[in-house]
Symmetry: D2
Subunit: 339 residues, 4 copies
């Protein structure tokens, strides 16, 4: 049973405010996100709800266009803003220097259609604001993806021929992060040390994401749901969808990290977010070497050598203001974790 | 039975010259590579053997150190040169503007020990010749990897603690390529349009590699066998091993390509090799869009959009003079190939 | 006579608030910057003073360490924050879509000693937060530069030998900018579209800087004075000094720009601020082509060709979170400006 | 009097082979370059002439199009190859590990017209082979520059309007270099450790260029004369001209360098040639720190700090396969050179 459908969930929806259900693995806090309560910045502002460490947040997110594109002819210009965010959510006890752990428990596509769009000035192999050229921009185009939830597929339909094909869905948050350090406020299209628009398919069910806590309460945000995405998100969008979500938020006191990390039963993963990609890869792998050294006790040079043999890199996106990669190693290659 | 062990194979070994066995799927040409007949350049020089289109080359390669590192205390400085190459092999009928198809039929690790090494000035997260810094270099280190061919694993043994772990083997050629265009001669540590030191795990059994033919006969080279490698080859080496190899060389007349490509039953793949990684990714994906457009008939914008949803990128290496990625799409997402 | 020394200037100093002197070329608004009223963000916050378009701002700035390093043994860690800013200053009539013109009238070094520092994790040829490596960091070092205002020189004194040399002073603002677009707040170490920590020696007497107005009033900030700086500011600092400054702020209604620009009698100049440097250069030159096309009537291709023959690029810095270049062309190479 | 006009010079021209005039500052070797004896590679091939250390080479170079573009309507496609080179010239006594010093004594534009061209796939702010995009290419265009040698100017004439402007000439070699190390052969469009297509305006009269000697005799090449060029050579060409040239070639025994260097009475300069520009700048500045440390006795950290205050960077080009910068420091800022 999804908690989202519970009576209290409906109550939360009606009140447009948080409601709390106490349970075994932490209380469940319902919060309903609408176009009227979204944010467009990762920033230190008044929280929309407060959770205790271990509580489960049960909420929903709008798609990257604020659910504004419904039918052929609709264009990205109809959006009130890119990447509307749910939040921020305050987690009690989180203080600067701690780590916020976000365990992703459930993600469901919240609609019947996904959207993809080619927007002038955005993309990996066309001229952009940050890699400008003298060419005329590519034309604006929008693709709609009918969603078959029973079959867990979204359907690509070519615009210039009659080809269509089914794409398996793997829902994840494009945006997931916390308030930045030092009072910065960053647009929801930016990925950086605070997370943000990471566009990491790793932000999906079964994985835990770790963020540095930069301000009291951490101030957690989510949004920009994706039903599926190619590596690099090269044309600038994934299959953009609203999501229904349950995530568990926990504070890890006294553990300090510089960049987001992912973990599941099988692997540890580090995020690098910068330009050029060379530097994003350097960030992710130095973080991974340090993590292995610190928690698993290998020397840094042994860890470096081992990663050169079994490490993995996943290019998440190469279109946002910073580019994002995830470096990882399977735990089966590591010594036992230090106590 | 491996042809390498046949009487004619032994004869070829004794003569240190090519021998030909005619067979159904093409003749088999045996060639024995030794430290005395290797090359250190991808260049237009006298071929060591000539094959007909469709012939199978049955040969062996030395490891990236010329098999010079045998035991603890041996160092990379004992190598006569990096990445000694077998070849070049002349393929009859190959003319500039054609494509050379190399189907990898069999690869076997040809030894009991693999080698990994950290060399000052080489690596993704230490100062190098092309990303120099004022820091003192990291120390030189060598790791030996005992190989268990029956179990198909190589064993990592930490130098600074007593940890060891088994790594599944996936043998592939680090170096595979042809003579460059316009008379250039490039060191065997360089990956570029002619292939070369691609360090692509995609250069393994079951895949076909396509190269542009730049000179008469194509002049094919292989070397730098790897038993396993992490994405990015970040410390500068894979598990370096000699290989025994069988590959089929075929000329595709009139098909012209700009960069190497891979293909198997499930996917088409394109290579981008440059710095920064941003440009390597741009090369690979524009090549892939053009390939899909040309052979599968989708418009370029539809192909761009589709790749943004289902495309994949594999970082091969970020340590050589150019960085290498492979972009790919599974054929199941493509329309039927045009006739 | 410097207005800063006038009675009203002293009054302004006593009141620590703005005072206005009405004059021919615009009123003069005095504002005294102290460690207690500085900001560390380019952001939309309450202005410290309001000016009319055409008014002259007469103020002072602290050095990048908040004037905290005074003598040998003092370290950057004694600073309360990097790059404390004077401001923000509200300019009446400035609305989003307008351009703010800042004419730099006078800059004087406000002290007897400049400071340079090597800080671990900051610099162009050592490992940093965004180009991390596994090496141990370079040591922290501080150099003090005695200033001879009469001779207009600062004196470099080597720490590891007894060499010293005089460096001519060319005072400029390292930080100069406005509130960012879309509600972003950026650290005062960041250069970007809003200006910020540009570290542009072009921000000096005789030049006018143009900024996009992103919020009502523009919200102008200055700080991080430099007595002299090498191209790239490669070790991470210039000769860091407090400044006394007079600048004239004017609103250009209806002129919209995307990136900061400089202009003087002889040249037009455009700023590119991003990573890698390749993209910073692309930004600056596309902006310059567009400017020439728009204001001087040349076709874009003619402008591109002409810049390839007479354009200039000045690397400002390669150490901040974005790298900054200024591209320029002398006006003598351009047609008459369009009316 | 120019030696080029001497009787023996004319004799050398008639014979189309080298002739030697012995003189005070070294013998003068005349060599006449024609489209029939040019090279298109920096490589180890048979020299066209041999000089003693200290001899003066008196020769000429063709423009980057082999002098093929003469009049409106002519296009780059009429060229037999890009950047035809004069040479190679063997310098007796030069052995690997030595340095070749090339003092540029005289450069004269050898014609009445210069050429500029926009070629699809080449340029800093249009899509290229190594930064490909999905846009249609910019159109091919050719500009002719009438040359007034008496006034020392070339004249830019806009194609799309009737504007024209005079550009002061500063002749220099776009291509200048030696045979690469390890048997490599590189296209004459490539700049790298061996020099090559550096497009450095520093390669002009009054400066000495130093190259690493990689093969016996050094094998010196020159070509690709430029009458004037903007920083970055952003549209892909300078004002392309044939040159008449006198350069003095000297061997510095036992001095080993890794990258080209420039020097004149006022400054020492180092070359960095790679992608992205970030790495080119890192190469140039680490080389400069090491040079200052080795020859002028400052500690590396003091040199780093001093360069951060008075160092200069000149972007030479951002269009060739590698990007080139020159970092420099004026000698007046350095201690006395060590004996």
């Amino acid at each position: 049973m999804k908690l989202r459908n519970s009576v209290l969930g409906l109550l939360g929806l009606l009140l447009a405010g948080p409601a709390v259900v106490r349970g075994q693995t932490g209380n469940v806090v319902h919060y309903t996100t609408t176009i009227d309560n979204v944010k467009y910045l990762f920033a230190t502002v008044e929280p929309v709800a407060r959770l205790k460490s271990g509580d489960i947040l049960d909420t929903n997110t709008l798609d990257c266009f604020g659910n504004a594109l419904k039918k052929p002819g609709d264009t990205p210009g109809m959006s009130k803003g890119d990447n509307p965010l749910a939040g921020p959510f305050f987690v009690e006890g989180a203080e600067p220097g701690d780590t916020l752990a976000v365990k992703i428990l459930d993600l469901q596509v919240d609609g019947d259609t996904g959207v993809g769009a080619l927007s002038p000035g955005f993309g990996a192999i066309n001229a952009t604001n940050y890699t400008p050229m003298l060419h005329s921009p590519l034309p604006e185009r929008v693709w709609f993806y009918p969603i078959d939830r029973a079959a867990n597929v979204a359907i690509f339909k070519a615009l210039d021929s009659d080809f269509s094909v089914k794409i398996p869905m793997h829902p994840f948050f494009g945006c997931i992060g916390v308030a930045p350090v030092n009072g910065e406020a960053r647009s929801s299209i930016v990925p950086a040390e605070f997370g943000g628009n990471l566009d990491s398919p790793e932000a999906s069910v079964g994985n835990t994401v770790y963020f540095p806590v930069n301000v009291r309460g951490g101030l957690f945000y989510i949004g920009d749901g994706h039903a599926a995405m190619g590596d690099g998100e090269i044309a600038g969008t994934a299959i953009e969808v609203p999501l229904k979500a349950r995530v568990q938020l926990s504070v890890i006191k006294g553990r300090t990290i510089a960049w987001p990390q992912f973990e599941n039963d099988n692997a540890i993963m580090t995020v690098g977010a910068y330009r050029p990609l060379d530097d994003a890869v350097r960030i992710a792998f130095t973080e991974l070497v340090h993590w292995i050294h610190k928690d698993y006790g290998m020397s840094e040079l042994d860890a470096y050598e081992l990663l050169s043999k079994v490490g993995r890199v996943h290019l998440n996106e190469m279109v946002d203001p910073n580019y994002v990669v995830v470096a990882s190693i399977e735990k089966k290659y590591l010594p036992a974790k230090k106590k």
